[in-house]
């Protein structure tokens, strides 16, 4: 390809191109090898004859009410986490992006520290807080354990990611647009609803999708805060892995969870490509 074409992409040549291709191949191998292994595991028949391949694990998994319920529970928790984290992330992201330098930077610094801090420790902190609150009889028993507690912990764990994605996107919006809207008399809510969200709809969707993809495979929250009443896919997975004959089922569940996590990202990408083509 010649450099004089209408291409907007810069040509990549020389040692850097070699390194880039090596890195890409390495990533594909690292991702593809375990995926292939898990896929192969999921197709192993749970029979006496080793090496036989069948769809038994998949059909059994899909027929199992327990597995379906666990999967549904995980999807629901991840979807609510994505919704909650995105809604809660918006005001702080707005503050970081729009407010003055000092306040915005302090808030951003806090969010980054929160993101780097081990979610497990934070959830343990939540547990302690719930216990203390239970002792004080402030919170109703229903949210001290079970699905609501898992949801609160999950939103808490994934909130920094939502804030960072949205703050980055909001920060890219031309300040003059926001100033003009303010001059026109727009309130903060109007600014968000009419200007920031429509201009950053991709980032809002990306934030929700990233949180969903991460939250669907969460196992800390269910382990630490769940009551067992609403079993999550990750808990089901752990039980299957603990059983000697459960590995093909666990592998099938893993693949299913991976597809579910990737599905919104793929859908989002396709949607944007379609819009761009228009």
């Amino acid at each position: 390809m010649t450099a004089s074409g209408d291409n907007t992409a810069l040509p990549l040549r020389g040692p850097l191109a070699g390194l880039a291709w090596t890195s890409l191949l390495l990533q594909v191998a690292i991702f593809a090898a375990p995926l292939a292994l898990v896929l192969w595991l999921s197709l192993l028949a749970a029979t006496e004859a080793p090496g036989d391949l069948s769809l038994t694990a998949w059909t059994s998994l899909l027929a199992s009410p327990q597995a379906r319920a666990a999967l549904f529970s995980s999807i629901l928790l991840a979807a609510l986490t994505a919704l909650g984290a995105t809604l809660l992330a918006t005001p702080l992201a707005f503050l970081i992006a729009v407010r003055g330098r000092v306040l915005g930077r302090v808030a951003l610094g806090f969010v980054i520290v929160m993101w780097f801090f081990d979610p497990g420790l934070r959830i343990l902190g939540w547990m302690q807080a719930f216990k203390d609150l239970a002792m004080l009889e402030i919170l109703p028993a229903s949210i001290l354990g079970g699905f609501v507690a898992e949801l609160i912990a999950s939103v808490h764990a994934w909130l920094p990611l939502g804030i960072l994605v949205l703050a980055l996107a909001f920060g890219q919006v031309d300040t003059e647009l926001l100033r003009t809207a303010r001059e026109c008399g727009a309130t903060s809510i109007t600014l968000l609803r009419r200007i920031l969200w429509p201009l950053c709809h991709r980032a809002v969707a990306l934030s929700a999708v990233l949180v969903f993809s991460g939250a669907i495979g969460s196992f800390l929250e269910p382990r630490l805060l769940g009551t067992g009443e609403f079993e999550q896919a990750s808990e089901w997975l752990q039980r299957a892995l603990e059983s000697e004959t459960g590995w093909p089922y666990a592998a099938a569940m893993l693949i299913l969870m991976l597809v579910l996590a990737a599905l919104p990202l793929v859908a989002l990408t396709l949607l944007h490509q379609r819009k761009a083509r228009r």
Binding site: D174, E176, L177, R179, T180, A181, R182, E183, C184, G185, A186, T190, R194, I195, P198, L199
Partner: protein
Amino acid sequence: MSAPSHLDLRDLTAGEAAAALDGYSAQLARGSFFALVASAPEVLGTAVNLIAGFARPRHGRILIDGKDLGLRTPGERGVMTVRAHLALFPHLTLRANIAFPLEQRGHDRSEIAARVDRLAEECGLATELLGRLPANLTAEQKLRGALARAIAGEPEILVLERPLQALPPAARHAFLPELKRLHRQFNLTTLFATDDLSEAMAVADTISVIADGREVQLGKAEELFGRPASAAVARLAGPCNLLPVEADMQESKALLRSPLLQSGGGELGRERCHPQLTSGPALLLIRPEVVRPFLGIRRFDLLTDGTIADVMPHGTNTRIHVTVEGFAPGIIAEIPSPAPFPLESGRRVTLGWNRADSYLLPVS
């Protein structure tokens, strides 16, 4: 007793370094077209942000109709700004952009639609453009849209912050009559912040020139052009020649001495000298349009000799750059085309101009 100012900027100090305003004051009468000129756009940004309420002064007050704006938020000030990049909301149609301030003020839909149609027409926008996104409009249509939106906000004060930057250079001066027409039509008190004094001189009633954060001259276009307060203002007002001379100030005239002038000097009436000028080094301001190159004998008050370095066609005129021994910048002359004799590089010429077309400035 004179009428109170519509917009009163009192002793404003704000911003840092190149963006600083240092004790700036200005009074705008109701319905006036006032230009604020500074070569540094950052200073203009500081002034506009103070008036619009996006920055607070370290010192000073801003009053509209005698009322201190104090801590009023941008939406409560009655100030609408058209900014250099116009800031049309890219995801909204032109109609929605113009309707935006009306919606925020709670007007009902039918009224908004009617007012947007009327405003678009008054601002020179065809109705079929209203359904387009800003990306599908020309630069001039965008500028008209931004003006219509600002006017839709029913401002007490309309601030234009370098709005012509959005247009291609060739179209900027052509749009100035349109700015004047809109000002006449809506009779809005307008503050035009620009780094181009020639734009300001074309439209504004009063012009305030800022240098180093302070006002260096306030006046009408002809005063700034013919009697600038400093060499910096003279340069902002357009191309100029500033010849270094030695001035001896006398009661009714100034005696000039300079090896650059034929016969070593000349004289200039006191009315052609800056009021604060004292004897000593000075700068003789001569605009290129009044300098004439000639061969042979011609009657001019002041003369100098040089060699043509460059000949540049400039619209209906020809601009020539003449090098003068002992004066590195040389002299620029602009003469109507065709020239009275062939102009070619390397030709020796005498340049002449009249005293009445010169102005003597202090060096600093």
